[in-house]
């Protein structure tokens, strides 16, 4: 496993502010001594990267230090922002090589939270929604196809929603846990391997998109899948690890070749001289850039739950859901539950945000003190909009304001989209009609589902 999160020993002052927030106690060291990350415990959520303030400074490290550290981290010379002790390993060079190679087909897809974050690094107000500019910016960078992970989020709902219904009908393992957040999956594998069968076998949207890009995508775009270099833009530092998991090769090759964070996309746009805020609003490419409001809310805590309920309700009852906005599962609390009436069934759901809040919930489930059918878990403070790869706030006092603004922008985007339920996405319907046939079908099982540590399909 290659290193994802690191602490620069020359820069760390040993303040241990990161240690206080690390959800898996993976940061080790003495006070006022440089801290080290224990890679066997790190879940790669990147919250330490967001927290760290110990930067390469002229006063402390001299005039030449900044350029040296920037070079050592493989960052382009156009990067001017401060470099901190805690950082995620950057793979921008691989993307640049692919973009410059005319024989390579570069296909890109972005997560929902990227479009409510990226503009901030160009000076726009916190939580500025920039979906159209994001599509335009990726096109200016020279990507051959500008698809979107939100398309795969709609597919995720088709599979995960059907999986939940199947578990309910056939006495499957309950509660089912969401599996979109790779830091949460890793946390569970490390600390509660006995609960792994609760994890939905449905892959995360990134990995569904990856598996579909090099199969269905290659077929519909009449492209040799071996020529495709698939790039994900993520608000998350852990997605690089997820894409590198040995089992994530169901398309016959590595499903996602490289992951850039929202911040690293900012570096790339600046390197190529793209004036992001002046870009026009453009559309993502069809079919794999077509998405609904349900997909967009994957970026906020409670969003996967809400998206699943919007579709699950209709699959079970055959009736349209009375209110598309399911406010009972929204909010900033670290753990919340709701009873949702789905036909004759009272579905008991739970939502955890912030990985530190999950332990008591899992312990209560194990002890039989808590009864749920479906549990969503996101590692970062308020879901992916607050991910470790999102634009980093200079002062902590702005964290709450940024969290709120990005969350609100996500719900605004959901409300404004013409289609707000995953099963009504016309391009997803077409995918099932022409390729997958049905959710949980043979092709889905091959491409869109996975297993976890200790299971036969897993190489861990």
């Amino acid at each position: 496993m290659s290193v994802v999160i690191a602490i620069d020993q020359d820069l760390c002052t040993g303040c241990q502010e990161c240690t206080k927030i690390c959800p898996n106690l993976a940061i080790e060291g003495l006070p006022r001594q440089p801290q080290k990350i224990n890679d066997t415990k790190c879940v790669m959520c990147g919250q330490c990267v967001q927290k760290c303030k110990s930067y390469v400074s002229v006063a402390e490290h001299g005039f030449g230090a900044y350029a040296k550290v920037r070079k050592a981290r493989g960052l382009p010379a156009t990067v001017t922002e401060p470099l901190f002790a805690a950082y995620n390993v950057c793979h921008l060079d691989e993307v640049l090589r692919a973009l410059e190679d005319p024989k390579v087909e570069t296909w890109v897809q972005s997560a929902p939270a990227v479009r409510v974050g990226i503009a901030e690094d160009f000076g726009a107000p916190l939580g500025t929604l920039a979906a159209g500019k994001l599509a335009a910016g990726l096109r200016r960078l020279g990507f051959n196809k500008v698809f979107d992970v939100n398309y795969a989020a709609d597919v995720t709902i088709m599979e995960e929603g059907s999986e939940l219904i199947d578990r309910l009908k056939n006495n499957g393992t309950l509660p089912m846990f969401t599996s979109c957040c790779p830091a949460w999956v890793r946390y569970l594998e490390l600390n509660y391997p006995e609960l792994r069968h609760h994890l939905s076998t449905t892959k995360s949207p990134q990995q569904i998109q990856g598996a579909l890009v090099k199969t269905y995508g290659a077929k519909t775009q009449k492209t040799d899948p071996k020529k495709i270099f698939s790039v994900s833009i993520m608000p998350c530092t852990c997605k690089q690890y997820e894409s590198g998991r040995p089992e994530m090769v169901d398309s016959g090759q590595r499903d996602v070749d490289v992951v850039l964070t929202t911040r690293e996309l900012g570096y790339l746009l600046k390197l190529k001289g793209v004036d992001f805020l002046s870009l026009p609003e453009e559309k993502f490419d069809l079919p794999m850039g077509d998405y609904t409001g349900a997909a967009e809310i994957f970026g906020v805590t409670g969003g996967v739950m809400e998206a699943a309920l919007r579709t699950g309700y209709e699959l079970v009852t055959g009736q349209p859901i009375p209110a598309v906005d399911i406010k009972a599962v929204r909010g900033p609390n670290g753990f919340r539950t709701a009873d949702i009436q789905v036909g004759e069934l009272t579905l008991k759901v739970g939502v955890v945000t912030g990985l530190k809040n999950v332990k008591p919930v899992l312990e209560d489930l194990k002890a039989g003190k808590l009864s749920l059918h479906f549990l969503e878990v996101m590692s970062c403070p308020q879901g992916c909009v607050t991910g470790g790869g999102q634009p980093k706030l200079i002062v902590e006092k702005d964290f709450e304001m940024a969290y709120k603004a990005r969350t609100e922008a996500t719900y605004v985007h959901d409300r404004e989209l013409p289609v707000r339920k995953s099963h009504e996405n016309p391009s997803v319907k077409k995918l099932y009609d022409s390729f997958l046939k049905k959710p949980l079908g043979e092709e889905s099982h091959k491409l869109l589902h996975t297993t976890y540590c200790g299971d036969p399909k897993s190489h861990h």
């Binding site: 303030k53 006063a59 001017t80 922002e81 901030e120 160009f122 200079i394 002062v395 902590e396 940024a402």
Partner: protein, 194 residues
């Protein structure tokens, strides 16, 4: 109440973790207008130039920042009149600073250093030269910020506070007087005889 002495930021050493959040906040506060620094680090296009300097020793950590000395040695030695007193605060005028380092020599705390000087995201050049200018950089108590020193607000451990030493001295006087009053009341043998 009028305060005759210059205010300064004092650190509770027991609370300071040495995280340097104060340095980042200081830089941001002074560069929103001057260098278009926004809310995120991605908006920073210049070197980070704080006006206080976190120092970590084996047993403690704390930001070292200007105490706005009443008999300011830095102000006394500056031949360019680049260091002036505005109200009770000792302030550097970067545009006048020639980088001679006399103030660095004079300051007994090391609260001043020379740092790159940028305006509108570009390095300011030396007069008649092509090389980039440096300027003395030290705490100005966020003179232009109505909310007061940014470092105090940014500290995650609430280790910093604006110290009004005159007020503090008066408080101590009153506390001491109250304690002595009680002691004396209960100890008649200590009264001076008529």
């Amino acid at each position: 109440m009028a305060n005759d002495f210059g205010l300064f930021v004092a650190t509770d050493v027991a609370k300071c973790s040495g995280c340097r959040a104060c340095e980042m906040a200081c830089f941001q506060s002074h560069n929103v207008k001057r260098n278009k620094v926004g809310k995120t680090v991605g908006t920073i296009t210049t070197p980070v130039t704080p006006k206080l300097y976190v120092t970590v020793i084996e047993t403690a950590s704390m930001p070292i920042q200007c105490k706005h000395c009443e008999n300011s040695p830095c102000k006394a030695v500056c031949q360019q009149s680049a260091i002036v007193r505005i109200g009770q605060q000792v302030i550097v005028d970067e545009s006048k600073c020639i980088g001679c380092k006399d103030c660095l020599v004079a300051c007994p705390f090391g609260a001043i250093t020379l740092l790159p000087y940028y305006v509108k995201g570009q390095p300011v050049k030396q007069i008649g030269g092509v090389e980039n200018k440096v300027a003395a950089s030290k705490c100005d108590l966020c003179l232009e910020d109505p909310d007061g020193p940014a470092c105090v607000r940014a500290c995650p451990n609430e280790a910093l506070q604006v110290s009004d030493i005159n007020e503090e001295r008066k408080r101590k006087n009153i506390a001491a007087a109250e304690a002595l009053a009680i002691i004396n009341a209960g100890a008649p043998e200590r009264r001076l005889l008529p």
